[in-house]
């Protein structure tokens, strides 16, 4: 018997209790049972259009999509029975008939959901001998590549991402039947500050990363965990490198911070590391001209200069300004170095002029709660923030919470649209901001 308010479902012979409204897919996942799928994504609405997750359900005359079938009490599901496998194999065959066999030159190769599942559910040879569909490529901007839209399997994850997460529908589906295709609005590009996530979401090689295109195979790359320096959120990253060169940056899932998303700034700014005009060697200014030197010479010169100042004026005459985008660890080392030199003059607030409130601050200023707890607030007042550009993923938290009833209010100096449903918005001149708050 089920616990009151819970439903018991049996998946592949194993029982699990789930709350009302749980879909078969989630129930199976709780048991660690994988149901093949393409269109389903736990952060997006249910579309049930790929049909890959068809499973056998007791008393149901037809196979049902696990992603869209709500659990009922006592339901029995088989995800890998003959009937289920037959349905899944059938869908896989349909997905492959018009999919180009260009895996060897596809950027998604090696991390492609279709490729992976075709191993389990596809046939080695196709029964389809008719002409294949061709879909024209699209130019939707410098970041997201839609160069091979023939690969698209119309799962609509990218469309739903735009509508539901990015807050603006920039991709849509035109045409019907076999002629259905994903396009941006006529003549427009995808401009969302979260657009790169569509690359991650795309289960095939239709939407790929333009900067990364044709530069490496995923299995050639090493993975390093990192934290984004680009905003106050600290999104978790995976930096992928080949040798000492950063090839691309991906999201590292952290439900407490960035969930499974990444802002475009975090994802694509690695290109700056490899930019030709980047300073790659230390330089010393001698007689007004900069001269490239090796690290040993540069460090020796630095020590000489510090020592000269310290001997003449004392350590306190030295001040250290650190970049605010540095990590806590880096900042810790900077202050340790400064104190070693005999100086307490360390700061990272490079753009702040007025420090008169310092005396009133106790401890480090911070949000006062976890990032993930923001969504549980009833009411929020956002003051003077270009939220979408300043903290793209925080904006998404508010967007989701507002949809669930959180009242988001904005007091701002410009008509910037945060793409969040606002309860109230006030626009005032910058000089009137304090007055309006009072």
């Amino acid at each position: 018997m089920s616990t009151p308010g819970m439903l018991t479902v049996e998946v592949d012979g194993r029982s699990v209790e789930v709350p009302h409204g749980t879909m078969v897919m989630e129930a199976a996942n709780r048991l660690g049972i994988y149901v093949p799928h393409f269109c389903y994504h736990r952060k997006l609405s249910i579309a049930a259009n790929c049909r890959m997750c068809l499973v056998q359900v007791e008393k149901a005359p037809k196979p049902l999509p696990a992603c869209a079938t709500p659990v009922t009490d006592g339901m029995k599901v088989w995800t890998h029975s003959d009937a289920a496998r037959q349905a899944q194999n059938g869908v896989m065959e349909f997905l492959l008939i018009n999919h180009p066999l260009d895996c060897p030159i596809c950027d998604q190769g090696g991390e492609c959901q279709l490729q992976d599942l075709a191993v389990g559910y596809g046939q080695s040879a196709s029964r389809y001998g008719e002409p294949k569909r061709v879909v024209m490529h699209k130019d939707i901007g410098p970041l997201v590549g839609a160069e091979e839209m023939t690969r698209c399997i119309q799962c609509t994850r990218c469309i739903r991402f735009g509508q539901e997460v990015a807050g603006v529908m920039e991709l849509g589906m035109i045409g019907r039947g076999e002629h259905a295709e994903i396009v941006a609005f006529v003549g427009r590009t995808v401009d969302s500050e979260l657009s790169g996530n569509m690359i991650d979401l795309c289960p095939v090689g239709a939407l790929t990363s333009k900067p990364f295109r044709y530069s490496a195979r995923p299995w050639e790359l090493s993975r390093r965990k990192s934290v984004s320096p680009h905003d106050g959120l600290g999104s978790n990253l995976i930096v992928q490198t080949a040798g000492d060169r950063v090839m691309r940056v991906l999201q590292l899932e952290n439900e407490e911070i960035n969930e499974c998303w990444l802002s475009d700034r975090d994802r694509f700014s690695y290109q700056g590391l490899n930019a030709p005009d980047r300073l790659a060697q230390p330089m010393i200014r001698q007689g007004g001209a900069l001269r490239e030197v090796d690290w040993q010479a540069a460090l020796e010169e630095t020590v000489r200069l510090f020592r000269a100042v310290s001997e003449k004026h004392g350590g306190a005459a030295i001040g250290v300004l650190a970049g605010p985008g540095s990590t806590l660890e880096e900042l810790y080392l900077v202050q340790k170095l400064a104190r070693g030199l005999g100086s307490d003059n360390v700061d990272f607030r490079l753009r702040q002029w007025d420090f008169s409130a310092d005396a009133d601050l106790a401890g480090a200023p911070w949000l006062g709660m976890k990032v993930s707890e923001i969504e549980s607030l009833d009411r929020v007042l956002i003051v003077g923030s270009f939220l979408r550009k300043d903290q793209p993923l925080l904006a998404n938290r508010f967007r989701q919470a507002a949809r669930r009833g959180q009242q988001v209010n904005l007091l701002h100096v410009a008509g910037d649209d945060p793409l969040v449903r606002l309860q109230n918005r006030w626009m005032v001149g910058p000089s009137a901001l304090v007055g309006a708050l009072a």
Binding site: N49, G90, E130, R176, G177, H179, A180
Partner: protein, 445 residues
């Protein structure tokens, strides 16, 4: 619309016609409808203060089944609408008649629009809905315009709008002109289309009765279903049931097309033998032999002519014979028809009309069409027939809506009943039958 033509014989739809009784092609206006006894059912409901529940019970008793294709009991469908729902409820009329072979709703709306309006007002009253829409097929603009005129007449006469007939019940009915997509005849795609979205079916559950138009409880019925309601209210459910057969109440309009002498709409009692219906349509054109019949619209299984000649036209009899009554579109094919060519045409339709939302239908309908097209054009392969059946099986029952099944059923039934014709086509690269095959034989000789 051109109304210059002379009136036609009111008996053209058959002697037992109820919906089309007394209709002569010109007498569609409100005054004509009232002269035929129109809106008496509505007046009776308000005069006798018939409760909504009693109306639903009467419709249940009549055994009226949905005339759009699925044949779902109408009274039962009406009873699914939540009675005490605090918000807006809707009734929607599905006049998006797109099934090849079906042209009955067009004639009802063209020649007798007020019977649909009256049926919808009664339905809305029975289900407690205050707003309704009639979604009219994209290709019949003249019919849409006429329906708008009829709505204006009904509003002016107090049969529609605020405080109908001076009572407490108000109902706002709007006509909505579609853009000609077959898929919008699927009820949830139709609702999406009314909402201004792309006409693509929703997955179910939830069904429209709990989550319909704009997310509110909604009942969608076919035009002919609503048109049958006033008669039931006036004469009683039992009398309606008596017109037909048990579980198959009333009369039904059959759209007779294909190789018959007088194609057109014929309204007959359910249970009428197919042979009698064929006789009404003037029999086979040119006196040729009947070969095959699709009894319920192109998405229903085809049956050999000799089977149909022994079958009666009602839901249960046709189901027993191995097909479905569907929307009542009877497509008759004579001995000169090439079954491969017929199937090619049907498969092209479903390929063209697939909405592209879900995989099996989007990919499979094109595959089916291309294979049949190859066979028809003399490039068939022996394994094609088994592949056709297997691909059909992989589409049917695996899709969001019934279009997948609709595309698969003709393929399977044509091959089931006429396999030798397909095999002949593949082997000899030409028709086994038909004028073109004969002509080619002659040329070869």
């Amino acid at each position: 619309m051109n109304t210059a033509h002379p009136p036609f014989d009111p008996l053209v739809f058959g002697p037992d016609a109820q919906i089309m009784k007394g209709v002569d092609g010109l007498n569609w206006r409100l005054a004509d409808y009232e002269a035929r006894g129109g809106y008496r059912a509505l007046k009776k409901i308000f005069a006798e203060k018939i409760a909504p529940d009693a109306l639903i019970a009467e419709v249940k008793k009549s055994a009226l089944r949905g005339r759009g294709g699925a044949g779902f009991p109408t009274g039962l469908k009406w009873s699914f609408m939540p009675r005490q729902f605090p918000g807006q409820k809707y009734v929607v009329c599905n006049s998006d008649e797109g099934e090849p072979g079906t042209f009955k709703d067009r004639d009802i709306l063209r020649y007798n629009p007020h019977v649909v309006i009256e049926g919808m007002v009664i339905g809305a009253y029975a289900m407690g809905a205050t707003v309704g829409y009639n979604y009219i097929h994209g290709e019949i603009w003249d019919v849409y315009e006429r329906f708008e005129e009829a709505l204006a007449e009904a509003r002016a006469a107090g049969y529609l709008g605020d405080r109908i007939l001076g009572g407490d019940f108000s109902f706002q009915l709007h006509a909505h002109h579609g853009y000609g997509a077959y898929i919008c005849g699927e009820e949830t795609a139709l609702l999406e289309s009314i909402e201004g979205k792309k006409g693509q079916p929703r997955f179910k559950p939830p069904f429209p009765a709990s989550f319909g138009l704009y997310g509110k409880p909604t009942t969608v019925n076919n035009t002919e279903t609503f048109a049958a309601v006033p008669w039931i209210v006036l004469n009683g459910g039992a009398a309606y049931l008596d017109l037909g057969r048990p579980n198959n109440g009333g009369t039904k309009i059959f759209s007779m097309s294909g190789d018959v002498a007088r194609p057109g709409n014929y309204e007959v009692r359910l249970g009428t033998p197919f042979a009698a219906l064929l006789e009404m349509a003037g029999g086979m054109r040119g006196g040729r032999r009947i070969k095959a019949v699709i009894p319920g619209g192109s998405s229903m299984p085809v049956l050999p002519g000799e089977v149909m000649m022994k079958t009666d036209m009602d839901y249960d009899s046709i189901a027993k014979a191995g097909s479905m009554l569907g929307s009542g579109a009877v497509i008759v094919m004579d001995e000169t028809r090439c079954m491969v060519r017929c199937l090619e045409r049907l498969s092209y339709f479903y390929f063209e009309e697939s909405c592209g939302q879900c995989t099996p239908c989007r990919e499979g309908t094109g595959w089916l069409y291309r294979m049949v097209h190859r066979i028809e054009t003399g490039r068939g392969r022996t394994e094609d027939l088994d592949t056709l059946v297997s691909v059909s099986d992989n589409i049917a029952g695996r899709t969001i809506c019934a279009l997948g099944d609709a595309a698969a059923i003709p393929v399977k039934s044509f091959i089931q009943h006429f396999r030798e014709e397909f095999a002949h086509h593949i082997e000899h690269k030409r028709c086994m039958v038909g004028e073109r095959g004969a002509a080619r034989d002659k040329a070869a000789a």
